[in-house]
Symmetry: C2
Subunit: 206 residues, 2 copies
């Protein structure tokens, strides 16, 4: 059964919420409370979870720790996914300097660029590899997720290379809409798009 | 008239697309082509633009440069919005090292934290200020947009302080859902949520 991308994304939000609640010592939660915390409808929460089985008890709600662990299992969070960063420019470097990946259970195992000035050089302790070696390194290192921080002009071409290498999940920071084959998921983070939308709201009078 | 947040966000995507097309020398574009490039419906594009007036000509499409400039005006992109970053931890530092803000026309004018170890120190050339001085500095520096890179536990409290200081636009990197007053727009970027969703798709067989 194909699960909608939006459902998977919300699962990730439920996980974040449950993780935080469990840390605060909460042990029980209704679908209404979970929905309220995220400004969603309770029916939405129940529908999303129903794709994966039966959680919680009628009138009793969810066990916080149990549901958190079940969602972790669904998302494969215990798997320690391996990540490659492609494009070691300004943004790629900023990302590499971010120490949060390991904390989140993700491991940056390889970094790539196509510039002869960068290939072979070390960035934050990792040697930049030639993008043309990407397919071979994906197989050898069993890379799960590719993070794209390449210029707009090359984004689509790199996305094709990444998809053809068997990668199923792309986190795209390039300011471009990527066309990818079915079965490949793309999440887009574009700081410029977010800032430019916010520019509109910054200019609104109350 | 209140414009839907999603419309504003799409305007920012149209702008990105038109900017790139104009650089490539395109001068004319139909709503269908623009929609196709972003995997949207042409009617959606026309509806979004209709909030702001009459663009393009029946059967002739849009003038690329003209529409790009009109959207820039709507979003206030020529205004040079001033940005504050709150929370100078790992992620805040990575963001500060990102040189793209100026290129995008945004200016980081102040950075804040609440830790005595950080206040008064320089980070990437900017002196970290005490968060308690935030309202006064917002007024003095005419800050438009606040970027939140604070821990989950303090995110809601900081969002309240920011909203009360008259800021209308928040870019939230904290892994928390923020409740803000009406008239304040929040864009959320949560690397963990994106990576955790992608972890699911990385584990799917074709």
């Amino acid at each position: 059964m194909k699960i909608p991308e939006k459902t998977v994304r919300r699962l990730s939000l439920y996980y974040r919420c449950l993780y935080f609640l469990s840390q605060q010592g909460a042990y029980n939660l209704s679908s209404k409370s979970l929905a309220d915390l995220l400004e969603l409808e309770p029916a939405q929460v129940r529908k999303d979870l129903s794709y994966f089985g039966q959680f919680g008890k009628k009138g009793k709600g969810y066990d916080v720790l149990e549901l958190k662990n079940e969602i972790a299992k669904i998302l494969g969070l215990e798997k320690g996914r391996k990540v490659a960063i492609i494009g070691i420019g300004n943004l790629g470097n900023a990302l590499l300097s971010f120490k949060g990946f390991e904390v989140l259970g993700f491991q940056v195992v390889a970094i790539f660029d196509n510039s002869p000035n960068k290939i072979g050089k070390k960035y934050h302790g990792k040697i930049c590899q030639d993008i043309s070696a990407f397919p071979a390194i994906v197989r050898r290192e069993k890379i799960d997720i590719a993070i794209l921080t390449v210029p707009t002009e090359s984004a689509q071409e790199v996305a094709r290379l990444v998809s053809n290498s068997g990668i199923k999940a792309i986190l795209n920071f390039a300011p471009a809409h990527l066309n990818v084959p079915k079965g490949v998921a793309v999440s887009n983070i574009d700081l410029a798009v977010e800032l430019k939308s916010l520019s509109y709201f910054a200019g609104q009078k109350q």
